[in-house]
Symmetry: C2
Subunit: 141 residues, 2 copies
């Protein structure tokens, strides 16, 4: 096992259509994990989510988030980012990021359609700023 460099970590997070697995804590203290489409803004992980979804409500109540992205084949690798989320309802900003995210995950040809869907009132733009990062490559070597 070895630690990724900062550049390697960034490339790993942005490779292809890898999804981020977002972990939040529900009101009753139970954990909740789901995949999100995300991109980076500097070191921040950026995604959109519905304000009234379980994840949206959890992040509005308690901004702490844990994000995991991994490589599912030998020799395996993963990045985990624990940090705090800041939320925005600014539709212009949301639209800009939703377009980048839609392009990454659905391709340029379908980006408009998914941007329209994901940058509307009732959605939140979420930005997770890292507090602690673990990035391990060659986990089983």
């Amino acid at each position: 096992m070895r630690q990724m460099s900062v550049e390697e970590r960034r490339a790993f997070l942005l490779e292809g259509t890898r999804t981020a697995k977002l972990g939040v804590t529900r009101r009753d203290g139970s954990p909740y994990v789901l995949p999100v489409w995300s991109v980076l803004d500097g070191d921040d992980v950026v995604f959109t989510t519905g304000a009234e979804t379980v994840r949206g409500r959890a992040l509005r109540r308690d901004g702490r988030a844990s994000i995991c992205v991994d490589e599912e084949r030998p020799p395996y690798a993963f990045v985990r980012i624990n940090g705090s989320a800041t939320l925005s309802e600014d539709l212009g900003e949301m639209r800009r990021w939703a377009r980048l995210i839609s392009t990454r995950y659905m391709g340029e040809a379908l980006a408009d359609r998914y941007t329209e869907r994901n940058a509307v009132p009732g959605e939140l733009l979420v930005r997770v700023t890292p507090r602690r990062v673990v990035a391990e490559a060659d986990v089983v070597d």
Copy 2:
């Protein structure tokens, strides 16, 4: 989007070397997500972990777990299992499951080596019994 059948969900969870992303809640209430190697025993998700790791300590304190497995390409799909973990230190049982897990993720030729590493005193066999399951295929269709 459509719900997977029970058979489809099982096949999805067991496909290739897909990893499970395990979410737990730390003592301070913050979320924590990491990839684990797992197999199924009936509907239970089974994996091993060090008793003194963050995830091991969290599960010993509060057995609630959230597990997410996803397909990272269009049309995207995911299974999330929220449930409760039961823990065992029985080395015989641990060895049996560790061998199945090692075979899945490292192949038959290397299974012995990883079984020896993962079924030793200080490790726990964890079994997450589903309480609530969501299994969605064709997420963007």
